[in-house]
Symmetry: C2
Subunit: 342 residues, 2 copies
DNA sequence: TAAGCTGTTGCAAACGTTTGCCGAATGGAG
DNA sequence: CTCCATTCGGCAAACGTTTGCAACAGCTTA
């Protein structure tokens, strides 16, 4: 049915190898012949069969993109950026969703391995060992997790968490809660460590609640527990949980940020739409997607295994306010600054 | 490098065709032989090369999923459902984003055509003619657009729009605005027609504002124009625009739903998170994704070109309230019902 | 004028599978 | 004991490409 290289060869009176070269090594064919071949190819509607090409060259011009949950608003901007960037480099992208399940994740990587030139593993939940192992089957770039010896692009969540905690301390909060993310998440460990260290250094308390699935519902469900700790400020693993918490607190008549301050992480599209607008740590997800694609495609050339860390920024909106130990002067300035940003 | 069927054959002392049959036609090989082959395959870590298989069978076991904008929260649930469903049927999914550009869309379909067994075209912006044309190159299922003779799955937005308008009329609104979506959108035409007819039948006014890009910003930007019309209720093309409008109105000190009622369409994850919670028409996007995959995969068997319409439901939350012509009794009941749903 | 280069093309093997065909072995029926 | 049917496995062609090698023509160089 489909028109092949052979049809083009016959129609333009040359050997199939000449047609092949017209597309994959144009400088090796006489300009005159080339244009003739191109013309008939165009006319016949010929398109090279990538599968056949892959079979012999070993390069599929496909990449795999594996994420924990496509519907988690953190990922779509990353997927979009990666796909667009890959396509610009003539690569197509398989997208797959593991539903936060490490077993599915492993299956998926292995199923995809033969069909792609490399895989972008986003926020993987597998063990380091498993990742090391699949790495031998297919080139990998890990996103949002740092494993020694493996190419990775991560957001500097440690920095973000420190900034967030410092912001809360500056506002006069002395008892904080970290509403933790899922077990097995590198990001979660980083945040926890950074937040804990920063709070401790300032002589403040930090209570960790979790682990939790990183969705709105668990944030809402944690409201009760948060209140019981007596803390006046909460840092959540991500915006989804922060938003869930925010609303559950309001439903209980707790004023945010009057009685409790809430900070999220990610700056998903909707964190600016809830009321109060959410103070959060912005993650450059689109840049991460592009960078990861670049790293993956370069990996073929040399064996370089760089690890790139992307800057994060605290965005102060309206879900954070003065705490019980607020130094009157400093606070008003701080709050004013926050309102300006809005 | 990679372990092939030949390695397995050698290691288990059979011909490659026997190995092949062990995987693709198990009933043709002696159980004893089969288990021996499976054992060595397992041990060697053999995985069939899908590209090679595709070359000879003509079936790639891949499908393409083309959407206008991955980052538009309407799509991720659809993508997720389609991917999961496809994988359960042993298919992998290419996802691509056209950025609402019909030219990119056409390119993409043609580039993907050879690599997939079929394509899901979601909310396409191409002309009917172009779609008809590519249809001859690759099996297609169109989502969110109805084209005669083409397999399609659409949401019954007409029904949703009618329900929404009736809800507003029941509440006592007599002057409505339809905040329109993008040019070239089939959905947009359907809503507009249904809403217009329903309003007219009840002797109410419906002013159309648009077309607009289907994003939050245009919703916000339309606030001024909406107020100028003097309308007391707005139906928006989608939740994104409705939310943008909602917030812009509140920023201007307009009470929602006290002064103006707002209804969205789609029921994206965040429409329940804004305050007031958004009354909206729920679209079964996940079901649409699954159905579309099923239709695509069945298409190979027969040439059936069904067109499936999925039910939509009005979800009454808190962004709609009594209008100027509200019959006192009916309203209180209605509003009470709305609050219960919350 | 012979030798050697350069540019262009054809030839054929190879990539990893599937599958129609054929032959060998087995076993039951007559 | 022969015949036939059935089951199993091997052989080889085919899928649509790429690519090393060789052939040839037309030059240049000595």
């Amino acid at each position: 049915m489909a028109v092949t290289i052979r049809d083009v060869a016959r129609a333009s009176g040359v050997h199939i190898s000449t047609v092949s070269r017209t597309f994959s090594a144009p400088h090796l064919v006489n300009p005159e012949t080339r244009s003739r071949v191109l013309a008939t190819a165009e006319q016949l509607g010929y398109r090279p069969n990538r599968a056949a090409r892959a079979l012999i060259t070993g390069r599929t011009h496909n990449i795999g993109l594996i994420v924990a949950d496509i519907a988690n608003p953190f990922f779509p901007p990353l997927i979009k950026a990666a796909e667009t960037h890959a396509r610009r480099r003539d690569y197509h992208v398989f997208v797959a969703d593991t539903d936060e399940d490490p077993i599915v994740e492993l299956d998926l990587v292995q199923a995809l391995a033969k069909q792609v030139d490399g895989i972008l593993l986003c926020s993987p939940r597998m063990s380091d060992d498993q990742i090391e192992q699949v790495r031998r089957e297919v080139p990998l770039v890990v996103v949002n997790r740092m494993i020694t010896g493996l190419p990775a692009v991560v957001m500097d969540v440690g920095h973000g968490a420190r900034e967030a905690v410092r912001h809360l301390l500056d506002l006069g909060h002395r008892h904080l809660v970290y509403l933790a993310g899922p077990r097995g998440s590198w990001t979660n460990r980083e945040i926890r460590r950074a937040a804990g260290a920063t709070a401790r250094a300032a002589g403040a308390d930090l209570t960790v609640l979790g682990p939790n699935q990183p969705v709105e519902e668990t944030g809402a469900a944690a409201a009760e527990a948060v209140l019981r700790t007596g803390a006046t400020a909460v840092l959540a693993y991500n915006d989804l949980m922060a938003i869930g918490l925010l609303q559950a607190l309001q439903d209980r008549g707790v004023d945010v940020p009057g009685q409790v301050s809430v900070v999220g992480i990610d700056d998903i599209a909707y964190s600016g739409l809830v009321r109060p607008r959410l103070t959060t740590v912005a993650n450059p997800t689109a840049a991460a997607g592009r960078t990861a694609v670049d790293m993956l495609l370069q990996q073929g050339d040399d064996g370089a295994t760089g690890q790139v860390t992307l800057r994060t920024d605290l965005i102060i909106r309206n879900s954070t306010g003065p705490g019980p130990y607020a130094p009157a002067v400093a606070i008003t300035a701080e709050v004013a600054a926050a309102h300006v940003k809005e």
